[in-house]
Amino acid sequence: MSLNFEFILSQTDGRPMYLQIMEQIKRQVTLGDWSQGYKLPSIREMAVASKVSVITVKRAYQELESEGVIVTQQGKGSFIAQIDNLSAQIKEQEMDKYLKQAIDIARSVGMNAKQLKMRLAELQETNSPNKTIKSEKNND
């Protein structure tokens, strides 16, 4: 194998392996290593390089395609999508994911939107790690 990359997946990470592969591919994009139009390794090559099954990589590619991060052309392979600011968009999506979680937790502890915003502002001021929001629910 002479691929110029290697993905090392975490076995203690509780998330499914296809999500970890998606994240690693996105990281290659946000770090600028894989730019627009970059040709991804084939599913089989990626499976061998990251030591996970073909079906798992296939799933990761499919999900990335539906998110618009990559484009697959029949018979040619998969490529990083030709989108301006793709890297910025991925970072935004990532952040939105955590913010949505925060909204859900806020709702479950009976916090309204205004209270959540205030809480966020407070945290930004004190620059605390964002985990504080999560531990809040245990005090409920």
């Binding site: 194998m1 997946l9 076995q11 509780g14 998330r15 499914p16 392996m17 296809y18 089989r44 090559e45 499976a47 061998v48 030591k51 996970v52 099954s53 073909v54 079906i55 798992t56 296939k58 799933r59 479950s108």
Partner: protein
């Protein structure tokens, strides 16, 4: 003609049964598509090795059809075995001969023997070809046997507990080599293991066997996706409905933990409708699923047989 092109399956077992005085393998159906890895999991004595021996033509089934690489088994086992690489825990090598002697021996039998690959494997497995088998550790012996099998470049690898008793480094060396096999899309692997983590990582398909019966055989992604552990916050008077696919339901205080094998997004709404709130929805590891699957299948069996046995 019974060549590979006539079907896409490396392994096909249809309604295969085999009876022993104290053990029965019943109604085994298995399909492994060419180019895939199947992880074969089961407790000790579940029937893994018996199934594998039937696939190899070492034991004849009482009933049912077995095709391996398009060959009818056990009738056409001689033809099939040229393209099958089989390795089990107790692989027999000549203790007084060296690894090099074994390599020459294999080369003289198999025209598919790849000397260059054999040399590469020696290096990757950290073995020396002038070593006698009797001086090797267990791990080195397993690696030597796998080398002898892999360098034949068989179309189908059947591995019975290939990593059992190996140290983590040797295990990794072997698993890495197995993955390399798959770079060529026409080769397939069936491997049994106790180590569910290895199987979870490498397999395209998962098959669980318990007490001589297949209790699940499915592609790994949709299988893992269908299992969830749901944590709910409930009130004293919350009634949780008996839904299809629930394998376990536990309540303690204001918490309930549901394990389901038929997860979908609507479940959350159903539980909310009952007055429960969702604390979390968790993925499960293959090991957790395996234990749940075996326990629920045994429970079901003891209920249908009136709890005897």
């Amino acid at each position: 003609m019974t060549d590979l092109s006539s079907n896409n399956y490396a392994i096909e077992m249809n309604n295969v049964s085999k009876s022993y005085p104290l053990f029965e393998l019943s109604n085994i159906n298995l399909k492994l598509e060419t180019g895939n890895i199947m992880g074969f999991i089961g407790p000790n004595g579940a029937g893994k090795s018996t199934t594998i021996r039937i696939l190899m033509g070492l034991i004849q089934q009482d009933q049912g059809q077995v095709r391996v690489l398009g060959h009818q088994m056990p009738d056409q086992q001689v033809a099939a075995k040229w393209d099958i690489g089989y390795a089990s825990e107790d692989m027999r090598l000549y203790s007084k001969a060296t690894i090099a002697w074994h390599m020459d021996y294999m080369k003289s039998i198999y025209s598919s023997w790849d000397s260059g690959y054999a040399k590469t494997l020696l290096k990757r497995f950290d073995l020396l070809d002038n070593h006698q088998i009797k001086g090797l550790s267990h791990g080195q012996r397993v690696k030597a046997a796998l080398l002898l099998m892999l360098a034949r470049r068989p179309k189908l690898l059947i591995l019975d507990e290939p990593t059992t008793g190996l140290d983590p480094v040797a295990r990794h060396e072997i698993l890495n080599e197995l993955m390399d096999v798959l770079l060529e899309g026409d080769r397939s692997i069936l491997f049994s293991s106790h180590n569910t983590q290895d199987i979870e990582q490498l397999s395209d398909l998962i098959t669980f066997i318990d007490k001589g019966k297949i209790i699940a055989s499915q592609d790994k992604e949709s299988y893992l996706e269908s299992w969830r552990r749901i944590r709910l916050t409930i009130n004293d008077d919350t009634k949780l409905p008996p839904l299809k696919g629930i394998v376990e339901q536990r309540r303690s205080g204001h918490q309930a933990i549901i394990t389901t094998k038929l997860f979908n997004d609507e479940l959350a709404d159903i539980y909310k409708g009952c007055g429960a709130s969702i604390t979390s929805v968790e993925n499960m590891t293959l090991e957790e699923i395996f234990v749940s699957e075996v326990q629920s299948s045994r429970l079901l069996e003891s209920q249908t047989t009136g709890g005897l046995k």
